[in-house]
Symmetry: C2
Subunit: 374 residues, 2 copies
């Protein structure tokens, strides 16, 4: 078997942490001796052991002289746990195959250096693209301070999200709605707008039983729910405050009469930032990056989704397209006033697949978003 | 090998006639003796020999005691050619495997009866669905008098076909435009509206070199170009009159000062029919059915495409979706005023595939179009 085979297995293990490792990355480790997998591990949860620790424990004495496959460069610093590079050295690992480097430019390469200094043979970049994709949010945050921004919208064939009256339940089917629950579950934060709260009054929570995901009870977490409410219009009776989990209200100026909430359900915080008379979306994303958010999901109406797109802040667009026509009076996908073909905003196809009776289209921008203050 | 194997080959042969057999159906025939294909044939062009004649010629004496696979029931009447059922009998064919019956209810089954009366063993319905799909237009016309109506539209991700100014060149890429040329080439008629003629002045012709289709020179044909011009707005200087091929102008009342045209390029005819102050689309389709049109392609703007959809006259919707956003000021896919979710028009997915950099979505209506006067 070649290196890619074992690394693919390590990536499978890493993916088990899709819904639980944040703010840490998803990482897997496989230990192989004479062509036999003798140890496997994955990082489950921040504060818990890293993937390498689990895999070394699993391998026991068999780790001596073995090869370790790691989807991310082993850490070289003492954080909440001892450095993993040291652990691999002490266990007698002879060779390390790595997929990606530590994305933080200040520490990148130090883990591999520590291994090489101990005469361990290190080969890098095995299935690097796959490993990067699994942690696109963590990678982006480490490199830019900003989270990965995913905008999700449900539309008809003719690009409409609701009737003129606002009526929209349900355009897409149950399989697409379950898929959205999974997008929420992998996200560190879910962003919506005051309009959506006032119109639909959603809970914005992850409902584990609707996701179809099997996860140990203690690994479930609720994403931070972020409401963009520039004019302080939402009230304390909105459904999202009555559900467990933290809430952040992003506004232009914090209200003189802020909403209060039973702290037992979760924290309620305010953040303010203004740019051109609107909530400053770029600064808000910086704030979420500082709070350790790797992936954020924008689930909003046409106005807010259009603002994220127009500002070039979107990394991934996910469109659930239902096989129906809602007609030309219905509401547009995005509020995005453009006048000529040269202003069009082009994307790359990433994926297209059927989800129940709907089609899910995944796209990424042709030009990468430019950091406003870069 | 089983029957499906040889019938699949017969269907491959039939498909060679995709662009040339109308008003006849596409038909293929394979003759098999002791597991070996000894004769193959397909119908090329109306007035020319049927598939069975070609296949029997190809087989020669080997046809004696052989099995014939036919994608359509052999004809039992003397038309432009002698009845094929008779030909199979005379050649000494021992067994016939058929995919579909003659769709005309008045003659359906007579070809097979003639074979059975001659002690030939007949098995029907082999790959019937595939054979029906290849001739959906011919089948529908024989059963209802109406052609198969395909509406093609090119749109952005947000369901827009042009900027507010009308600017639209080019939303989709060259591969999608080549694909549209192939849709035209297989159609008996291409329908457009006066608005499109006045705005874009298209030739509406098939340009063989753009199709990527290899076809013998004499098999190329131009679909009838139909312009729906209820108020007699288009002039004789429109580009489509200067191109070879027949033109039909469908109007509410024929102009007192009709357009004339150089007959060497092709015929120009008028047809009139009115319903509720508009050109009667249903009656127009009946007219096209009477003219032997199996498949018609609607290539128009939002208004006419919307009218076909609203009238329930569409059998197939083909959307070329480009990975771009044109914004909320841009023109809608269809002029289709609907007010509530219960009025939505639902479709079944038929196909979804990438064509160049665009996605081609093919859909069929959930409810079959109801014949107005049935």
């Amino acid at each position: 078997m070649n290196h890619e085979y074992y690394m693919a297995r390590a990536l499978q293990l890493a993916k088990l942490g899709l819904y639980s490792t944040s703010p840490n990355p998803r990482v897997g480790c496989v230990i192989v001796r004479e062509g036999v997998i003798v140890g496997e591990g994955w990082h489950k949860k921040a504060g818990g052991p890293h993937a390498e620790v689990h895999a070394l424990q699993d391998a026991g004495d068999m780790a001596k002289g073995a090869t370790a496959y790691v989807t991310l460069e082993p850490c070289a610093h003492t954080g909440r746990t001892a450095p993993c590079a040291q652990g691999l050295i002490e266990a007698g690992i002879a060779e390390v195959i790595g997929a990606t480097r530590d994305p933080n430019p200040l520490v990148s390469g130090r883990g591999y250096d520590m291994l090489r200094d101990a005469d361990i043979e290190v080969t890098e970049h095995c299935l690097q693209a796959e490993a990067e994709a699994l942690n696109a949010g963590f990678m982006k945050r480490m490199r830019t301070g900003l989270p990965w921004v995913r905008v999700k919208l449900a539309q008809s064939l003719d690009g409409r999200t609701a009737m003129a009256s606002g009526e929209s339940q349900w355009i897409t089917g149950p399989a697409a709605r379950r898929d959205v629950q999974r997008l929420r579950a992998r996200s560190c934060a879910v962003i919506t707008g005051a309009d959506s709260i006032l119109l639909d009054n959603p809970a914005m929570t992850v409902r584990p039983e609707e996701t179809g995901i099997e996860l140990e009870e203690h690994l479930w977490r609720q994403p931070l729910r972020v409401v963009i409410d520039g004019r302080n219009r939402i009230g304390g009776d909105a459904k999202l405050f009555a559900q467990k989990g933290d809430v952040l209200i992003a506004t232009r100026k914090i209200s003189a009469d802020p909403i209060t909430r039973d702290e037992k359900l979760g924290k309620l915080a305010y953040w303010s930032g203004e740019s051109k008379g609107k909530v400053d979306l770029y600064a808000l994303l910086q704030e979420l990056g500082e709070r350790g958010c790797n992936e954020v999901l924008v689930e909003s109406g046409a106005a807010l989704a259009g603002a994220f797109v127009a500002a070039g802040l979107v990394d991934e667009l996910i469109l659930y397209c239902a096989p129906t026509l809602l007609g030309s009076n219905a509401r547009p996908l995005l509020s995005l006033p453009l006048d000529s073909m040269k202003e069009q905003i082009r994307w790359h196809w990433q994926d297209s697949r059927q989800v129940g009776d709907d089609l899910r289209l995944t796209l990424r921008p042709v030009k990468l978003p430019v950091a406003k203050e870069a």
